[in-house]
Amino acid sequence: MELYRLSASEIVNGVKTGAFTCTDVVKSCLGRIKEKEGDIHAMLYVAEDAAIKRAAEIDAEIAEGRDPGPLAGVPVIVKDNICTADMPTTCASRILEDWVPPYDATVVIALKNAGAVIIGKANCDEFAMGGSTEHSAYGPTMNPWDYTCVPGGSSGGSAAAVAAGYAPLALGSDTGGSIRQPAAFCGIYGMKPTYGQVSRYGLVAFASSLDQIGPFARSSEDMRLIMSVLCGFDPHDSTSENRTVPNFCKNDSVLKGKKIGVLTKLVEGKLSPDLQASMDAQIDNCRKLGAEIVEVSLPKALEYGMACYYILAPAEASSNLARYDGVRYGMAYKDAHSLLDLYVKTRAAGFGPEVKRRILTGTYVLSSGFYDAYYLTAQKVRKVIKQEFAQAFTQVDAILLPASPTPAFKLGAMSSPLEMYMADVFTIPVNLAGLPGISYNTGFNSEGLPLGMQLIGPRWSDAMLLEMAATLGKDSEGKIAEGGVR
């Protein structure tokens, strides 16, 4: 079997026992990228030379009898909105074209210290704003299972890369579903940790109170491995919480005696038939594994979460993106006759239409006279949604819900921004409440497109949630684990 099809844990094992070298693995992955990139376009940057060099260093360490770490020799791909000091970080935008950060994100340092080899940066929606990766300024990414479909977004490139076998692990970011939805669309695991679980230092901010970095993987064991490396307090991030890193260890009987919440009434009629069937099957599956199914109610989260999110996220984004002005980094309009001219022309040329829409919406809802009506109101609704979830979690241990109302849709299918926004209805409330959420594959539909389910837990239940997804996703894992798409 080609090395690129191996899981991260298999690579670590093989590299440490000398079955193969890290250089072998990296070369295999780089070869796979060359083979498939023409069709998929998941990568914005491939760090070929740097990766080979790093692989040689890892191999040398192992040869000397030293242990490079829990991810020794594993190739990892990083979403292009996460800072890498030796690789461009464009956020899939023209305004940061060719920008090389002067520092590494904390998670990147953690991966390097764990012995991983970062082989490149993945495509995404510009500044993580979108649900399909069609808003990348550098062209969309195709779903590896069906090139006419989107891989999801905004972390579409990362999800596609893992599903296509470019690397066993990838990092994405999730503000309103941007890891969970592409994971579901690409048939792999994708997790958004509890807000504050993983450092945001070095994640180019979109909506600071909602963003979290999280992993993609084809196997649950790989998810455990990388979550252990990513989670943890970072003194550079004031929103990261100082608590012990969860113990991510396998637990087959995690569902025994647990209560799983479902929202069958609330989602009735809202899902495509294949997802509806999948959800029903998963509910049965839960029961078989010893869980009790409890109907819970989250009416406000589902009804008002979208409006609340599309006020708060653009508001924070409008402020976070104000720094892109051609002065310190990135693109600058060349013939500016004044500072104001530099600002308005750089930003007009550097930002794509979706980013502009959100900046303008965000600016408006924060503007004088409207703060109470929009921003403050949305913050109150957010509180209500948090309380609704808290109430639900007094009755159940986790909630089962699809990540998206449909499987991967066709490129160009969404006719308006608002239509695209509506597709995030099941993921957004999770970010609003700061909860952990994970997507896992439940099979494929008749068109060969992956079907995925989402599990949501109370804050800090990341380890339990991962085990639930692992148990429920075990059967599908077989098909995906071997390097995904053929």
Binding site: N242, A307, A322, Y329, D341, L360, T363, S367, K383
Partner: protein, 98 residues
């Protein structure tokens, strides 16, 4: 729900330092009005008793010691500027725009 006139959209653009081209203005105005309509949903809720800023579910701010932590990559920061001028970063004329 109030709708935004094209002039008002341009004003928001000014506030965001974002030049809006005439060909973008129509679709932007339309989008604005769609989304503001959608926001009006929130008026259905009674939020009078809700305090959004209570702290039950998070830790308070953590403080840092007042000790210098030298940063060793100042050149990288300056080099990335499109308009580095020695130790400075140059900006064009400030003010005087109509």
């Amino acid at each position: 729900m109030p709708r935004l006139s094209k002039e008002e959209v341009l004003k928001v653009g000014k506030l965001a330092r974002l030049d809006i081209a005439p060909e973008e203005l129509d679709s932007l105005s339309a989008h604005f009005n769609d989304i503001l309509d959608y926001f009006s949903k929130l008026e259905e809720l009674d939020l009078s008793d809700v305090d959004p800023f209570t702290m039950e579910d998070s830790q308070p701010i953590r403080l840092r010691e007042d000790e210098v932590v030298p940063y060793d990559n100042r050149e990288a920061i300056l080099d990335q500027s499109p308009s580095r001028d020695g130790d400075f970063i140059r900006v064009p004329k400030i003010g005087g725009d109509k």
